[in-house]
Amino acid sequence: MAKVLLEMKSITKTFPGVKALDNVNLKVEEGEIHALVGENGAGKSTLMNVLSGIYPFGTYEGDIVYDGEVCKFHKIKDSEKKGIVIIHQELALVPYLTIGENMFLGNEQGSKWCIDWNKTYAEADKYLEMVGLTDSSKTLIKDIGTGKQQLVEIAKALAKNARLLILDEPTSSLNETDSRALLDLMKKLQREQGMTMIIISHKLNEVSYVADKITVVRDGSTIETLDSKTDDISETRIIKGMVGREITDRFPKRHDVEIGDVMMEVKNWTVYHPEFSERKVVDDVSINVRAGEVVGIYGLMGAGRTELAMSVFGRSYGIGISGELWLRGKPAVLKSPKQAIKAGLAYVTEDRKGNGLVLSNSILRNTTLANLEGVSTGGIFLDQDKETEVAQEYVRKLRTKTPSVEQLVGNLSGGNQQKVLLAKWMFANPDVLILDEPTRGIDVGAKYEIYCIINDLAKAGKSVIMISSELPEVIGMSDRIYIMNQAKIVGEMKASEATQENIMACIVGVRGESENAEAVNAESVGSEA
């Protein structure tokens, strides 16, 4: 048995009102690749943030034992000094600096007063070779692809003398080939340098491929640790661990909602990435939604769900959009969000703070923003009494907790912000609402209330498309479910027939096929699909 490099003992981390981590235990042996898997919001990233000192010592309970001693990290630098380096999902590279400059940013080579560029680039080249990157270290970051950038990040970590490398979703923005190369690099580092690595990933086939041990995190607790040598680590087995909970009455029931005609239909919809114009982010997608129906679109992050929704909503994302959009049985062309709103569409963004709300404005102002015509004469002169009335009505209806409608939205909690966002779009009076991750980052109580609002919308004859990466939510709330993966719709089923396993199987199924072709992972569960 190898030496235990890292042990996290009964870690508990509480955010105001939420227990993000509850008595988590994690043991990582030297020289192994350890995978952390779990659904979104299960607590994986929180755990790694605790480890790297982003949440400093004292803000959590429990011990971190690293290399035999109890560690108290107060900031990232502390953990980096010990050789714990975390590579975040969002790459932290400066596009207009060279690879070499990026690698030694904050750790410049040379004397205190003068950077030794020869040494910098020589060192950089050495580490680049280690990760199998042949580009010169004098290349600008913006000139290399995302796959190579990820390798630069790893080289950068190696240059910091990393002993424990944490990779947070390293392949989420990579294509098949680049992902495979990255995983092989991980294996190579393990073999040649004895590097210890923790990988966080949603892509279970990759986890099965690369990991020695797999720890499953669910609802802020570690459920089990599987060993690739002794246990079954097939994807179905991992899913069972990840999901493993019963769907109880966490979802309010909809009674007597009549499902009407097709309200909106999208046919053969294809969208290209706005920057990498050869990449399809939505590939030949056809979906429809009826009046009074709640349609779920399930998919992991990066599957193209948001891109689909935004491109339908007045082409607010992507280029080279092709396909047909039918509204109430008639073809429609929506070239701007304004036209989309006029046509009866609403898109409730997943990124509340970035794309949804004006945080520096009041609840009142946010509520009426998408429908100022409704509270003004001639679309110019605002009727502020009416505005107040409207805002108060929605605060009451959605039970938003706030002292007054004059409260700045930036001062509200996540759940209440989400309600203001919903209020804004409900006031715009759409026929079709696209809700993108409507319950992300809000607590259980507020979630239940959001579900009730969704049900009320359906009862009022609206069509609701709910995009979510939480399986129980999709199954519990939808009438019908589309499953999306890698820019395509890979399955459609009635909610009554859906189980967590067969939805996951749809996703795995596609992967399984492509992998069988590559003859890499023979024991795929694709046959179930």
Binding site: P16, G17, V18, D249, R250, F313, G314, S316, S336, P337, K338, A340, I341, K342, Y347, T349, G354, N355, G356, L357, V358, L359, S360, N361, R365, L369, A370, L372, S376, G379, I380, F381, L382, Q384, D385, T388, K401, S404, N411, S413, G415, K424, A428, D443, V444, G445, A446, K447, Y448, E449
Partner: protein, 420 residues
């Protein structure tokens, strides 16, 4: 909670308090000269352009901290064209119209580049700053052009007679206060204004109460109203004991009132705040954010044109150096008045306070015979303190909020748990 309230109060009124303190300070430094009726009168006439340009600048700043560097040059350009027209003995209304149209054209020009071609505002208006001043110099052939049209100056405030005529001069007995004859029109106007304000405040409050809205404490409202009325009466008295209401004051009041209305009561105003607060969210709410940017710079242009009218009337000339540094006065007025350098917050009220504070400091130092270069240093320091104060207060408030939020969220989860 208590501390939070104090901080919120300070944040809201700090610059007002500071202005009052500065006024009192200069009163003592200048042995009371700074509050003489003629000083008050000059305060308005000399700073008229700051109010007008500050108003336009606020619109630009609201859209996301964008500024317009060209306004000084635009004032110079439009002013020189207007002066030349009057110099050729053409009717002055034509000159006024041309100056406004020039401002409008400049605004459209900037708006187009900034909103539709996405040239950064800083660069687009820097281009204007250079080019328009050059153009003005070409028109002026490098020399001053004197404005001699009396009617023009009377209407827009420049000479000794640029006051609202005393309509009631011969009505009733002579009005004096502490031995000084008062301008009766000004007195009547002041009293009417004060009365109007009182009536509006209480009628509006009664209406709000009737409709069930939350209103301020009655006592607070009374104190506030009394204070404002006192300031109005004092101000009116000062003007009345000099020569009455300067015409420039009427123009500023009109502009400020119009734009206060636009920013608070129209969709355009709402859109300006929304774009500055979160451009993406605003676009996704179906608002044409380009049009909003375009409108902001167009209005700025028109206001710069209008400011040029006031400036050449006051200076009685147009010249190559007219308007140098005006953009900085306008920007400073906005920031001192609490506009955010990132956009989304700020108000006409803030501009009024900012412009007044700058004006008071300028004039106080002039009377106290402070060398010009020192004056600039002082103004710079005032600006950094104003902004620093705002940042500090925001940090404090966030700290207080965090504690409060923790408590609120704990309650939320409890309730949620009970429901599910």
């Amino acid at each position: 909670m208590g501390a939070n309230k104090v901080i919120n109060f300070l944040r809201k009124y700090m610059m007002l308090i500071a202005t009052v303190l500065v006024v009192i300070g200069f009163y003592f430094i200048t042995n009371g000269q700074s509050l003489n009726p003629d000083s008050i009168d000059r305060l308005i006439s000399q700073n008229a352009y700051v109010f007008v340009l500050g108003t336009g600048m606020l619109l630009c700043i609201l859209t996301g901290g964008n500024i317009d560097l060209s306004v000084g040059s635009v004032v110079c350009l439009a002013g020189s064209v207007g002066a030349i027209i009057m110099d050729k003995n053409l009717p002055w209304p034509l000159a006024v119209a041309v100056m406004l149209v020039m401002g409008l054209l400049v605004g459209l020009w900037h708006g187009y580049w900034i909103a539709y071609v996405k040239v950064p505002p800083f660069i687009a208006t820097l281009v204007g700053m250079l080019a328009f001043r050059g153009l003005a110099n070409i028109f002026l052939k490098g020399k001053d052009v004197i404005v001699e049209n009396k009617d023009f100056m009377n209407v827009f405030g420049g000479s000794d007679t640029c006051y609202v005529p005393d309509f009631f001069r011969n009505v009733g007995p002579k009005l004096t206060f502490e031995g000084v004859a008062l301008n009766k029109t000004c007195v009547v106007f002041t009293v009417l204004l004060a009365l109007g304000l009182v009536i509006y405040t209480f009628v509006n409050r009664a209406r709000l109460v009737k409709n069930g809205y939350k209103v301020d404490n009655f006592l607070v409202v009374i104190i506030k109203t009394v204070l404002i009325v006192l300031v109005i009466l004092w101000f009116g008295y000062k003007l009345a004991s000099y020569r009455g209401i300067p015409t420039a004051f009427i123009w500023i009041a009109l502009i400020l009132a119009l734009f206060a209305y636009i920013t608070t009561k129209t969709t355009l105003g709402r859109n300006l705040y929304a774009v500055g607060g979160n451009e993406k969210a605003t676009r996704l709410s179906g608002i044409d954010t380009r049009k909003v940017m375009f409108s902001a710079y167009t209005l700025m242009g028109v206001l710069a044109g209008f400011a040029s009218i006031l400036v050449i009337a006051r200076g009685q000339k147009a010249g190559p150096t007219v308007g140098v540094g005006f953009e900085m006065d306008a920007i400073a007025a906005c920031f001192i008045g609490g506009a955010s350098a990132y956009g989304g917050t700020g108000s006409i009220g803030g501009v009024i306070i900012g412009a007044t504070l700058m004006g008071v400091i300028n004039q106080g130092m002039n009377i106290a015979a402070t060398p010009v270069n020192y004056q600039k240093v002082v103004k710079g320091i005032v600006l950094i303190f104003a902004v620093l104060f705002d940042i500090l207060m925001q940090m404090k408030r966030k700290g207080a909020k965090k504690k409060k939020k923790t408590a609120v969220e704990a309650v939320t989860t409890e309730e949620g748990g009970a429901k599910s």
